[in-house]
């Protein structure tokens, strides 16, 4: 049936324009985009979606999600994570390979694709492991993984310690047109650390992880990109120096891209005071200065993408002593609100923010999406940018509730998510 998305304010990240237009969706695709008041339904076979007062944006694409399946279904499943994604306005998510077994083979990649089809909500793009078992020893079969559906490669959660392996991964991935995503962490420097090393860790007596642990590896990837000419994407940038290094690399024309997660521009290390394990993430929440630099990096384009690093954990991993708690917080359902706060602060314009949540990740991963155009696939999200709400545990659709934003007042959220012309999720209140 034809769908008429009526009177919405369309944010197009390609043209960076915001205008009130009607969108007509036929089947999977956008058939027409036209000024309001022109289209009329004559046949009666038209479903009207009232978008008045709402923004219509390309469906968000999260290039960094942990779906936990296979292996940790008690934390999240591909179905529950897909639903959380839809509720957060995401029409596509890329899931990291640190499952059990890790996604280092065709069979696991195919399993993920099949489970996603069964869930039938958002598009799920597997990121496969760089090394077999994420052990950092041998390369996985990049070509076979790509054919099975993988769109990128990463040993996320377990950094590639061996620089030679990273170099070869970048070189070989280029042949298959796959993006290598690096989790930058010098494990020797971070060993035993549970939060950012600085004033707060000193005050509350928790072992620290220095910013240098990330920066050294960011610089390594930049050196490898320079030497090989191969692209690399830096995951979850958290420090000022990482931003500076990436900025210089881009100025030198190197094929380096980068993402950060909303918590790195929203919270600093003070959130850990009181030993709140929901504020324990890896890399850790950094200093106020780092948060400012990350914002600056987003503003000037050094940081291309906002990705969630959605990392579900159950109370088994979180209601424990701080040093025993697993790092990570969920993020699919709060990412847009936290990003919109940057728009209100004047760090990003609305189109820039939407671009970092959709168009740029689609380009980096080489998947379609991120634009609103006639003939294009109707992966669209309606957001209410004025909706104020206090996040409650009950409304979280992810299987895990590990977020320090529960009880906080947030603003702006998705009200309807459409994947391939089909409404997969709609807010009911």
């Amino acid at each position: 049936m034809t769908k008429w998305i009526k009177d919405g304010k369309i944010v197009d990240p390609v043209t960076e324009r915001v205008e009130q237009l009607d969108i007509i969706v036929e089947g999977e695709r956008i058939s027409k985009i036209l000024p309001c008041g022109i289209f009329t339904s004559d046949s009666g076979e038209v479903e009207v979606i009232d978008a008045a007062g709402k923004l219509v944006v390309p469906g968000f694409i999260d290039m960094h999600t942990h779906l936990r399946e296979p292996g940790y279904e008690y934390k999240e499943t591909i179905a529950s994570g897909s639903l959380a994604a839809a509720a957060g306005g995401f029409t596509a998510i890329a899931c990291m390979p640190n499952t059990d077994p890790p996604n280092d083979s065709r069979s696991v990649t195919e399993f993920i694709v099949e489970q996603a089809e069964r869930a039938n909500l958002v598009r799920v793009y597997p990121i496969a492991a760089i090394s077999v078992g994420q052990k950092g020893e041998r390369l996985t079969e990049f070509g076979d993984l790509k054919e099975a559906g993988a769109v990128g490669l990463s040993d996320d959660g377990r950094p590639v310690v061996n620089s030679e392996l990273m170099r070869r991964a970048m070189e070989y991935a280029r042949f298959h047109g796959l993006t290598v995503i690096s989790h930058c962490e010098d494990l020797y420097l971070s060993e035993g650390g549970v939060m950012h090393e600085g004033e707060v860790s000193t005050k509350i007596g928790l072992p620290g992880i220095p910013g240098a642990s990330e920066e050294i590896m960011v610089y390594r990837e930049i050196c490898l990109a320079r030497h090989t000419g191969c692209p690399v994407h830096i995951a979850h940038v958290s420090t000022a120096e990482s931003v500076a290094l990436i900025r210089r690399a881009k100025e030198a024309g190197l094929p380096v891209t980068a993402e950060t997660a909303p918590h790195y521009f929203t919270l600093d290390h003070r959130a850990v005071m009181g030993y709140d394990t929901n504020a324990k993430v890896n890399p850790p929440l950094r200093s106020e200065k780092d948060v400012e630099a990350v914002k600056q990096g987003l503003k000037d384009g050094t940081i291309d993408v906002i990705a969630t690093d959605h990392a579900p954990h159950s109370p088994l991993e979180k209601e424990v002593e701080f040093d025993r708690a697993s790092p990570g917080m969920i993020g699919l359902e709060t990412a847009f609100s936290l990003t919109l706060a940057l728009v209100k602060e004047g760090v990003l314009t609305l189109p820039e923010a939407i671009k970092k949540l959709s168009l740029i990740p689609s380009r980096i991963l080489g998947v379609t999406g991120g634009s609103i155009e006639e003939g294009g696939r109707a992966d669209l999200t309606l957001v209410d940018d004025k909706a104020k709400y206090v996040l409650t545990e009950n409304e979280i659709l992810s299987k895990s509730k590990n977020t320090p934003f529960i009880g906080k007042e947030l603003c702006g959220r998705a009200v309807l998510t459409m994947v391939g012309g089909r409404v997969v999720w709609q807010r009911t209140r």
Binding site: E199, G205, L206, G208, G274
Partner: protein, 313 residues
Amino acid sequence: MGRFAHKDLLGVAQLSVEEINLILDTADSLKEISERDVKKVPTLRGKSIINFFYEPSTRTRTSFEVAAKRLSADTLSLSASSSSMVKGETLIDTARNLQAMNPDLIVLRHSSSGAPHLLARVMEAGVINAGDGINEHPTQALLDIFTIREKKGRIEGLHIAIIGDIAHSRVARSNIIGLTKMGARVTVSGPPTMMPLDVEKMGVRVEYDPRKAVEGKDVVMLLRIQLERQSKLLFPTVREYANFFGINGEVIKRAKEDVIVMHPGPMNRGVEIESEVADGPHSVILDQVANGVAVRMAILYLLIGGAKSDKVD
């Protein structure tokens, strides 16, 4: 005696100067009990206290035990090896089970910073932090402050050096917080590998060389060097540490003539402290142990001696 409006004692960080003074004054009046023939008063009769030590400890555990018994409380000791911890029970589950037995206080020693805070959130019983990871050891700092006040008559304006592994010492952290709150001027000293980042923001001065750090000091507080830290690249050898950071009689001469030397124990003689200092005229190390009982009696009394409804934490 004044009111003490806390359910728990999790750290010196939560205490005001008035509250610290209240603890010290209370300890002052209770100290005499330990010097009697019959070292027992009925103050906490019918109260039960669980000493829960996930980490080995002789001094602190015994001190709490003695303090509780002198106030007539019933005490029970659990260690990590005798608890369900070894069977994989989580700290929260253990806490809920202990709570079901309705104790008045839990004294917790744990290797994780923040573990007592977690326990306190889920328990109705009061929680005393008897040392958590590298965070705090508040009763040790309070007995140290008590000892300093006893010997020097005041805390405010005193020049104090704390020497050793500042980064990994909960004794150092609690003392830094407490002593600076009370108006002392604190210098921390030790190899740069053992100095926490931005420690100046806690209101202390850093002087890496202990020979300089002790100059003109009223109090020199030494910390136990954990020999196992050698493997973590913090210092090359015990010999090297003793040579450059160990305190001997010569070094102590640089302090004020009436300096007192403190150590929380257990000492590594010949490493951070030479015997001539540990057993010398400036040492108040055994006074610290004696005062530990009085200070812990004061804390037990202030936490559970009054009516429960007074506690508003």
